[in-house]
């Protein structure tokens, strides 16, 4: 089965006659990492939420493997699409394993509880991310970086083919940002399709193979990171001057001081 997610002429508005974004087209295939860049408040989060039905487009459509996304149930969507929100507020101190195990919920019926098979999958995810040793710790008492790994483990336990990440690096320290990007890259190599938003053009260079820049409700440019992340585009998007440096194996985007 082909693995593809498409948005066709997607528009969204909270109030009439004012679109957050309009006429957006893109598609993501197996192994893609699609990174959406853009200034604060341009609608990146809203766009991502439209991709798994948390919000619904006002016009246009989202196709998941050629099926209309909005005709699928929550469980059917969740079996295919994993999502890690930008912020999580915790209430109860569940153990790390219990949180990872929640990824099994789309695969279980209303009255079902996780069985041995589900525990195995959750534990496997923890092992993949090297956090198996903290499975019994309350997830509220570990560091932000470790918490992000727990949420990635939960998404892996969900066994989706698509992964939506809303600014996955925004609350992490320098090292954990790079480690998270590395994990995303590996997941894509294993066959996941990733859509993520980011504030860091550099992160797109490091992990993405497709980049879009969102501005005033439109994609002003879409293409490979090298095509899209240019000095002109960055100035247009963020209003600051940058220098694109070739470092041999990849490029980097370095901001310059505002005079």
């Amino acid at each position: 089965m082909s693995q593809m997610m498409e948005m066709i002429e997607g528009s969204f508005s909270f109030v009439e006659n004012y679109n957050i974004f309009e006429d957006i087209n893109f598609s993501v295939e197996k192994g893609d990492v699609f990174c959406i860049l853009g200034a604060n408040g341009t609608g990146k989060t809203t766009l991502i939420k439209c991709l798994n039905g948390l919000m619904k487009l006002n016009s246009g459509k989202v196709l998941l493997n050629n099926e209309n996304l909005y005709s699928l149930s929550h469980a059917e969507i969740a079996k295919n699409i994993g999502y890690i929100p930008q912020v999580h507020t915790s209430t109860f101190p569940f153990s790390v394993l219990d949180v990872a195990l929640m990824g099994r919920s789309p695969h279980l019926d209303l009255f079902e509880s996780p069985q041995e098979k589900d525990f195995k999958i959750a534990e496997e995810s923890l092992k993949t991310l090297n956090i198996y040793h903290m499975r019994d710790k309350p997830y509220t008492e570990i560091s932000g970086g470790e918490q992000q790994l727990v949420f990635i483990a939960r998404v892996l336990t969900q066994e989706p083919s698509f992964l939506l990440l809303d600014e996955p690096t925004s609350h992490l320290d320098f090292g954990n940002q790079i480690r998270t990007l590395d994990i995303i890259e590996k997941l894509a190599k294993d066959g996941l399709s990733v859509v993520m938003s980011s504030h860091f053009p550099d992160h797109a260079f490091m992990s993405a193979n497709k980049v879009a820049i969102m501005k005033e409700g439109n994609f002003i440019d879409v293409g490979t990171p090298e095509e899209v992340i240019t000095e002109e585009n960055m100035e247009r998007t963020y209003g600051i001057k940058v220098k694109i440096v070739d470092m041999g194996d990849r490029r980097a985007c370095v901001p310059l001081k505002i005079k």
């Binding site: 209430t91 109860f92 929640m102 919920s105 996780p114 041995e116």
Partner: protein, 345 residues
């Protein structure tokens, strides 16, 4: 055998704690038959109870049979059912609203039930009608809360709670009004005493009406209890994990409302149990609703049984339960809070 151990370790873990909690409950259940003005020996209790289960022929004095089956049995059963119902409803509501400070009457069920009962007392009806009015009043209040909250745009759990607060105080005012117009010598004391909560007058017949809804409500909550974990991570996150959050929320609200309305309808408003027992259980078994809900059922039953035993023995005139639960529960809870810092994060 070994396979069973591995295949359901979570259940196995839960089961051992449940057994540990069940032992004191069974002991208390039997012990409670001995308490009261009419002296009954442990042998008598054992003999009478087993004669009902096994077809043995023993000569039981009718007074003994009456005291055990008409007076003490309904009271003990009601204490256990109500304690269990209120605390499991509290635990579920705290998960639903992601807030450990929520009690099962957050959506106005107790106030509605209280007004239903007051109205029935004003109309001069008997115990069963009062019970029916209370039950229906509770359901009406929560339905109003839910329907009104649905008319707002962007319905969140917060809107629901705010509507609940409004409905609660509205029915609270209606209760006050019925007290105000009640006959101060005949009806007012009845209303006041009813509202404070008591199990003294519970009959087997009343028990028969509330036991089925309470048991069904509990079974449904137990069946969906793992999903309450997922729901408590937040509505949006639960949705992205494939949960039909609207449906799950309605199931929880309906079950908790039926449990609380049934409880209030036979013994009046008993606060504190639904708020505090879930906390006590979280200290014992942790936050996982898979274990927390069954634990709340057992500990809730134990707690209210102890409170009712105390209420029966402490003074010649019974102290209303609603007063005792707070007087005994509050210091006990503070003590526990002090002993264990990690109640919630």
């Amino acid at each position: 055998m070994i396979k069973w151990k591995i295949t359901d370790r979570m259940a196995a873990h839960g089961v051992s704690i449940m057994v540990l909690l069940l032992i004191p409950l069974i002991f208390l259940f039997l012990f409670s038959f001995l308490i009261g003005r009419y002296p009954i020996s442990p042998q008598d209790v054992f003999l009478v109870l087993s004669s009902k289960i096994f077809p043995i022929n023993v000569n039981i004095p009718p007074t003994l049979d009456t005291v055990i089956f008409q007076i003490r049995f309904p009271r003990i059963m009601a204490a256990m059912l109500v304690g269990a119902a209120l605390s499991v409803a509290g635990a579920s509501f705290q998960g639903l609203f992601r807030n450990p400070l929520v009690a099962p009457d957050k959506l106005g069920v107790s106030a509605g039930a209280g007004f239903g009962a007051s109205l029935a007392i004003l109309l001069g009806t008997g115990a069963l009608i009062i019970q029916g009015f209370a039950f229906v009043g509770g359901l009406i209040a929560v339905s109003l809360t839910y329907i009104i909250s649905r008319t707002f745009k962007g319905t969140s759990m917060l809107t629901l709670v705010l509507c609940g607060i409004a409905i609660e105080s509205f029915f609270g005012a209606l209760i006050a009004l019925s007290k105000y117009v009640a006959d101060p010598f005949l009806q007012l004391p009845t209303i006041v005493f009813w509202l404070l909560g008591s199990l003294a007058a519970v009959t087997n017949q009343q028990l028969l009406f509330v036991a089925p809804p309470i048991i069904i409500g509990m079974i449904i909550l137990l069946l969906i209890r793992w999903r309450i974990n997922v729901l408590s991570m937040g509505e949006e996150e639960a949705q992205t994990l494939g949960i039909d959050t609207r449906r799950l929320q309605i199931i929880i609200i309906v079950c908790c409302t039926v449990l609380t309305a049934s409880s209030v309808s036979i013994c009046g408003i008993i606060g504190w149990v639904g708020l505090v027992i879930p906390h006590v259980c979280r200290i014992i078994v942790g936050p996982d609703h898979k274990v927390l809900l069954p634990a709340s059922i057992i500990v809730g039953a134990i707690f209210l049984l102890i409170i009712d035993d105390i209420s029966r023995t402490l003074t010649t005139v019974e102290i209303p339960l609603g007063i005792l639960t707070a007087i005994i529960g509050a210091p006990f809870f503070l003590y526990l809070l002090r002993k264990s810092k990690e109640v919630w994060a």
